[in-house]
Amino acid sequence: MKKRLSRFLNWTILLGCTILVCLFLGIILFDIFSKGMSSLSWGFISQPPTKGMTHGGILPAITGTLWLTLITTLFAVPFGIACAIYLNEYARPSVLTSMIRASIRNLAGIPSIIYGLFGLALFVQALHLGTSVLSAGLTLGLLSLPYIITTTEEALKRIPDSMREATLALGATQFETIKDVVLPKALPGILTGVILTLSRAAGETAPILFTGVAFYINGSTTSVNQEFMALPYHLYMLSTQHQSIEQVRPLAYGTAVVLILLVFVLNIIAFYIRFKQRTQQ
């Protein structure tokens, strides 16, 4: 009798934990979507806020986040991929290479608020970029760099050495091997990693707090050194800073829905690419 009881107990513990974890996700999505969908409308995502941000849409926040993601991509992707190429293709096992790997692992563990401080000190103050979407984008770029390097390196590792040897044996230089054979074959894997990193960066708030996010701007950001609104900060502002919290609560839920949809769309694209690549192999 005791045996069956302990087996039942074990089963409930394990299954219970898994269900609880799924429940967390369920509650989060249910609460946000059930209360947020009502304020979702075409006007909500295509109009700037009006009447002291108690009405109207959140267009500047959306465009701000897209601006940020664009600048993060332009900065982090080239550097990230180049570094991964060096580590996987060129680097010989040496003290230097292990130092680079160690610093990447540690950079991934640094709290995002400290990236905010570094962005403030480097981009806003030292490089005199001031508080702008450029400073914030570059700060997010630094934050994303270690993740892009790690995912790109994993994608490069999946390419068998026989490919490299085949090209080299034909008299190609190492760079030509990378350019013509390794990168094209690793592209789906790299793309998946980049998109997942960007969806994570788009959801970050701490790094952009001091590097240029604004409470409110008239229209959408149009130039690189303007301040900007961003979806995560807009949600934070609507839920803690705004003048009439009760009145703007539906807007806050709406913003949360848009933010989560943006992040999920990016994730789904990444999964689709990874799925297509896995089945096609």
Partner: protein, 251 residues
């Protein structure tokens, strides 16, 4: 005496501390097939890869001595490795077509070495014909190379190498991953290529060595134990080790 195309002179190779090749002196006669045979781990593949500087990539490989292609020392720093690999092609054990179409597999090396654009189509066709592959693929050149069968892929790899018109072709157990019928086809192809290229082939297969090679080199524990004409080495091997290894396989 045969004219020497490719030769190694007191060649030593170390991986880290371990010495893999000990004082190898060997000459490969022009336009003939030389087989490298020996128990696994005797260093025959490692030796083969020295000839087109494939060890440059591995970090802890250290090479002493020299390798001459005609009178050019391929390990001399001022010679560009890409030029050497253009003159010495290599075919690998497992067929490794590039992840591109059949046509691109062939045209890739030609573009890299800036062959004149108008000649490329002609060169590809003749190389594929030489490798008896043209009939099977001529109307589906755009198809991805991985869709071909194992034997076809290996012949494509050989065609991809010969299209550059190299002087030497190194083959690292080219048929070990193929079925007997494809193996026979590759062997015929090797014999037909003999008239244009010097071929050095590493093989485990004694019958294959006897069928296609003019010269045979037997290696054991990183040393070149015996080298001579195919008949001599197989029928009356001088060295005791060769006799045991080759014993019973001749005739």
């Amino acid at each position: 005496m045969d004219q020497i195309k490719l030769s190694a002179h007191s060649l030593n190779l170390y991986f880290g501390q371990k010495q893999i090749l000990k004082n190898i002196n060997i000459d490969f006669p022009k336009n003939q097939v030389t087989s490298l045979i020996g128990p696994s781990g005797c260093g025959k593949s490692t030796l083969l890869r020295c000839f087109n500087r494939m060890h440059d990539l591995s970090s802890d490989a250290k090479i002493e001595g020299s390798i001459k292609l005609d009178d050019l020392d391929i390990y001399d720093k001022k010679n560009s490795v890409t030029e050497i690999r253009k003159r010495i092609g290599m075919v690998f054990q497992k067929p490794n077509p590039l992840p591109k179409s059949i046509y691109e597999n062939m045209s890739y090396a030609l573009n890299i070495h800036q062959f004149p654009k108008n000649e490329i189509q002609k060169l590809i066709e003749s190389a594929l014909k030489e490798s008896y592959l043209w009939e099977e693929v001529k109307d589906e050149l755009k198809k991805p190379a991985v869709k071909l069968s194992g034997g076809q892929q290996q012949r494509l790899c050989i065609a991809r190498t010969t299209v550059l018109r190299p002087e030497v072709i190194l083959m690292d157990e080219p048929c070990s991953a193929l079925d007997p019928i494809s193996t026979r086809k590759i062997e015929e192809l090797i014999v037909s290529l003999k008239k244009d290229y010097t071929i050095v082939i590493v093989t485990h297969n004694m019958q294959q060595a006897q069928r296609i090679s003019d010269k045979v080199a037997f290696m054991y524990l990183g040393e070149l134990v015996e080298f001579g004409n195919c008949q001599d080495v197989f029928q009356n091997p001088q060295n005791e080790l060769t006799k045991n290894y080759v014993g019973g396989h001749f005739g």
